[in-house]
């Protein structure tokens, strides 16, 4: 056999060069703002791979829908129709309430809450690494998606868009370790900050004093104070409270309403227009 590393630099030199390159990349990605743009180009470049990877799942769901029995389809159809009827009933009432609310707001002299635009997007890929909870959506700037836009599903808030390509975008989920948001305890109206822990089924409430009024099972909704998420959407339910007086703060964990590990479709929200020009701080 021929001697192996005759051509090119030695192994150690290669490792040294590569280490420097990687460290440079990490610094650029973590500590500068240009990385968002770079990331979205890269995501677009590798999106064929993601398409190929999601192909088996698409084919399987397609096939299972093909072979679903007539009977079951009919039953499902009936169920859905019933649900639609029930929901349009509540919707009529909601419209009435909204009108009333807006009138009352006018009387008080405060701005009425505008109903934002919505768009359904399909999840192309779920980033599988435990250190990064992100999803790729099949909508991009061509559909009007912008950065920092909130997304929800039928149960609660999922996360926010962090980088946008022309036909796809990436969203950070609320359970990611780098994500934090402002919430309100629905029962008492106290504002709290929630951080992701890198686990699918829990988030953590930080900096709560021991004297705070909080109970197991309390619903947490968005407060609208962070300027990203519109007010009043359900996020999580308090699942565990640990009163340890030796700790400076109360240890509270909450379980998100949205089933973050099995998302297929999400709803993108466009909040009120004036909120968009003050977003941008991280």
């Amino acid at each position: 056999m021929n001697p192996i590393f005759e051509r090119g630099p030695s192994l150690r030199l290669r490792l040294f060069i590569v280490t420097l390159l990687s460290l440079g990349l990490m610094v650029v990605d973590r500590y500068t703002d240009s990385s968002t743009q770079l990331r979205s180009y890269l995501t677009t470049a590798v999106s064929p791979l993601i398409y190929i990877a999601s192909l088996p799942q698409v084919v399987l769901t397609g096939a299972s829908e093909q072979f679903m029995s007539h009977q079951r389809l009919l039953a499902e159809n009936e169920q859905l129709r019933e649900r639609l009827l029930r929901q349009s009933g509540t919707l009529q009432r909601l419209e009435f309430l909204q009108q009333e609310n807006n009138k009352l707001r006018e009387l008080l002299g405060s701005a009425p809450v505008a109903e934002g635009q919505r768009l359904v997007a399909e999840v192309m890929a779920v980033y599988s690494h435990p250190f990064s909870h992100q999803i790729v959506l099949n909508r991009g700037s061509n559909d009007g998606v912008t950065e920092f836009q909130p997304l929800i599903d039928d149960l609660g808030v999922l996360g926010q868009v962090v980088s946008v390509g022309p036909t796809s975008s990436r969203a950070l989920l609320i359970t990611d370790t780098t994500h934090a948001m402002s919430l309100r305890i629905e029962r008492t109206g106290v504002s709290v900050i929630a951080e992701g822990l890198g686990q699918w089924d829990r988030i953590r409430l930080v900096h709560l004093p021991h004297s705070i009024d909080i109970q197991q099972g309390d619903r947490l909704v968005t407060s609208g104070l962070d300027g990203r998420f519109p007010e009043g959407y359900p996020v999580a339910r308090v699942s565990r409270i640990q009163r340890d007086l030796s700790q400076p703060f109360l240890q509270v964990q909450a379980e998100p309403f949205a089933q973050l590990d099995r998302i297929r479709y999400v709803l993108l929200l466009w909040p009120q227009q004036d909120a968009s020009n003050e977003g941008g701080s991280d």
């Binding site: 590798v46 435990p130 990064s132």
Partner: protein
């Protein structure tokens, strides 16, 4: 002068491994997913260190960063370091039995995962869970089969 042959097979297998790494799966199964790209890369480094070594590892690691969503450069660095260990000792490791090789791969995988954790902890402040180490075990168990499969592929296509 050695003739480069079947270099496409190497890249094809690496791309397939990358696809396997991002294939959507239930969260429960995902926890146990072996690091396919790293395993395939390690095989090629072991078998043909003059075709695939640190440069290849860097590129594949970088692609994993982009695909998986970790901070850019974390996987690139970890892949390169593991590939360096493999390339520097490839003649010893080749002579090991399959069992010994598997154990060694397990060690390398554990090293890889700890390195990823340290870097991510330093960069984004993640918390450690013992669950993160499941891929080490599955990777160790998968190695003998992958080794056998890729050796067959290499001989079939006469990759050199």
């Amino acid at each position: 002068m050695q003739q480069t042959k079947g270099i496409g097979v190497i890249y094809l297998s690496l791309v397939l491994a990358l696809v396997l790494m991002v294939m959507p799966m239930p969260a429960m199964v995902k926890l146990f997913r072996p690091d396919w790209a790293l395993l395939v890369l390690l095989y090629w480094v072991l078998a043909l260190p003059f075709r695939a070594n640190i440069g290849t590892a860097f590129v594949i690691g970088f692609l994993v960063d982009v695909l998986v969503g970790t901070v850019l450069g974390v996987n690139a660095l970890a892949y390169s370091v593991v590939a360096f260990v493999m390339a520097a000792n490839h003649q010893k490791i080749r002579n090991f039995s399959v069992l010994q090789q598997s154990l060694l791969i397990g060690l390398l995988l554990a090293f890889y995962h700890l390195m990823i954790f340290w870097l991510s902890h330093f960069l984004t402040g993640v918390y450690f869970l013992p669950d993160y180490l499941w891929p080490v075990l599955t990777g160790t168990l998968v190695w003998p089969w992958l080794f056998w499969l890729l050796r067959r592929v290499r001989r079939q296509f006469k990759v050199r």
